[in-house]
Amino acid sequence: MIVDAAWPVVVQAYLRAVLVDRTHLLLLSFAPGWHLLDLQGDPAFYGLAPEAPDGLRSLQDLFVGLPLDRDQDIPFVELANGRSAHVHLVADRDAFHVLLLDAEEARSHERVQQQLVHEAIIAGHAKSKAIGQLKDIRDELGRQRSSLEEANALKNALIATLSHEFRTPLTSIFGYLHLIERRATADATAAQALQAVRRSATYLFALAENLLEYGRGESSGALLNAVEVDLGALLADVEGMFAPLAEAKGVRFRATLAHDDATAPRFDEVKLRQIVVNLLSNAVRYTTRGEIVLALAWRDRRLAVDVRDSGIGIAPEFIGQVFKPFNRGAQAGSKGAGLGLSIVRRLVDQMHGTLALESEPGQGTHFSIELPSVAAIAAGPEHASTLRGRRALVVDDDADVAQLLEVLLEDLGFEVRVLGDAASAVARAMDESPDLLLVDVELPGLSGNAAVYQLRAQGYRGPIVSLSANATTDARDASLRAGANHYLTKPLNLERFVAVVRRAVGEGAKEAT
């Protein structure tokens, strides 16, 4: 009897319809151990399959940890088929019954209401955060306006992109020129045209590189993108570019390479190329007879670059001027932007090299440049030994960058270990507490910032330096907030790198904030 027998029969029937039919009542009776004894209603409505071996497992799971000899009531249970039901357990003497009552309609109703409320609250949070962020951005803009450094960082990024954009099409122009010139069956006019194209392309190349370099401004220190340089390939490239130009003027062109140091030469290849291209452009422009010689020599961890020509030479009174920008007229008959040699001087300085110039009017000019390998700079005498035996852990997925960092740190005296992913770096750092942790921010999977945060959240106190290609203040702040002590941008400024590493190791950890 579902309700009081004293009630009128029609009311009883009505209530039965409401309580049983409309709620899709399902009744399952069990003996202890969940042995199904009896079943009334439609189990499929709730996605249950009592006949299948595990068809009632989800019901059974629902009562894990609960006593089966006491009545239970679990409202709004989402079942495997997505329907919501109120689930009741009714204890019996040697058994128990499970009742399911459909709650889908009430649940949908409730969900719509709550969803609105929750979304409003979350949006409110996001809004107040966004307003806070806007305030920050306004402050930031104010700061940026007064910060030349920031503007420079942006400019550098733009220039780096542009420089790349220029180089790519020019490379293909040179490639095709080479291809066409090899099929040297052209008549005189065509050959001349090709020469003209080559001359113009070379000029454009040098000009673009120079303007871009000049646009970089008087950035202090060496922004280094050091890689292992294939000197033979470099030589072949510039020879391919300049030999035809020289020969077209009746000037001989020779290029030689001495490779006497067993270690691999490491330089900022773009800068090195720019130096050579500028010197050769100059030589070709001012030489009309005789020869031009390029000699590269790699020995004692130094690269000597010698460019000798038998051109018009430079009068002694002009020697001091040729390294100034826009020095039109310093060399008789000069044309062009006059940036070449000033840029060579700057690049050589940035690379911590030396430059010497000898010239005799009417006889020729000789530039000799010496560049120390990147690693040799890092290990300069003032840095000697104090860091000997310290342990550094480098986390970078870019093998080239990791290798560069390894070389630099080793030359500073560190014992270096390199890992390629953040997750294993967290475990390793917690384990070994290195004296210095260098983490790339842009790692695949767990980001460098997340790893740094995790370390600080585990109480890691060692010094951490983050490295990123992102030069914005936002990116820097995010890294420092995650718990890094210092933030360095790529390409590396070598002096800054060395200074930061020394500072980081010297001052020890700061409390993460």
Binding site: D61, I74, E78, R107, A450
Partner: protein
């Protein structure tokens, strides 16, 4: 034979990622759509720990409620463990999680409790300070997790399993 089974309740403010963590752990899926949980959804997963018999965790994904409500004791009853979930980008959700832990202690004095601070993939926007978590670690196991990337998720549940009687 059927492995030993334990009830584990997910507790935390709405929107912190309780449903998402269960989805990541049990089904290796993630959705960025937010659908409010009403009532409870029960999922289960077997955990094999080295040197132990496998355990079965029955996960109760309970409707996200704010810390102002007492956790529905009818849902908590019988639980052996709690996975408290906070959202690293909302500092208040950490307080909620800790409040929920304290409130649930009256019903479940002995339950294993582990804290998951979720949305690690958004670490740049986190409000919760690393030092706060290193402090909290003295009193309960803490995991930074991301239901989106999966980071820390297995580890958090495995820690629960490790602390449950086998």
């Amino acid at each position: 034979m059927t492995p030993l089974t334990h009830k584990v309740c997910m507790l935390g403010d709405f929107g912190v990622g309780k449903t998402s963590l269960v989805a990541r752990y049990v089904r290796s899926t993630f959705s960025d759509k937010y659908l409010t949980t009403v009532g409870v959804k029960v999922d289960s997963k077997e955990v094999a720990l080295p040197g132990r018999d496998p355990l079965k965790l029955v996960l109760w994904d309970i409707a996200g409620r704010s810390a102002l409500d007492a956790p529905s004791t009818s849902y908590l009853r019988g639980a052996s463990a709690l996975l408290l979930v906070a959202d690293g980008t909302r500092e208040t959700s950490l307080n909620s999680a800790l409040n929920l832990l304290m409130q649930s202690r009256s019903t479940l004095p002995d339950a294993v409790a582990v804290l998951a601070v979720n949305k690690l993939d958004l670490v740049e926007r986190w409000e919760v300070a690393a030092t706060t978590l290193s402090e909290l670690r003295r009193s309960l196991p803490v995991f930074e997790t991301s239901a989106l990337s999966g980071a820390g998720v297995e580890e958090a549940f495995a820690e629960i399993a490790r602390r449950l009687p086998g």
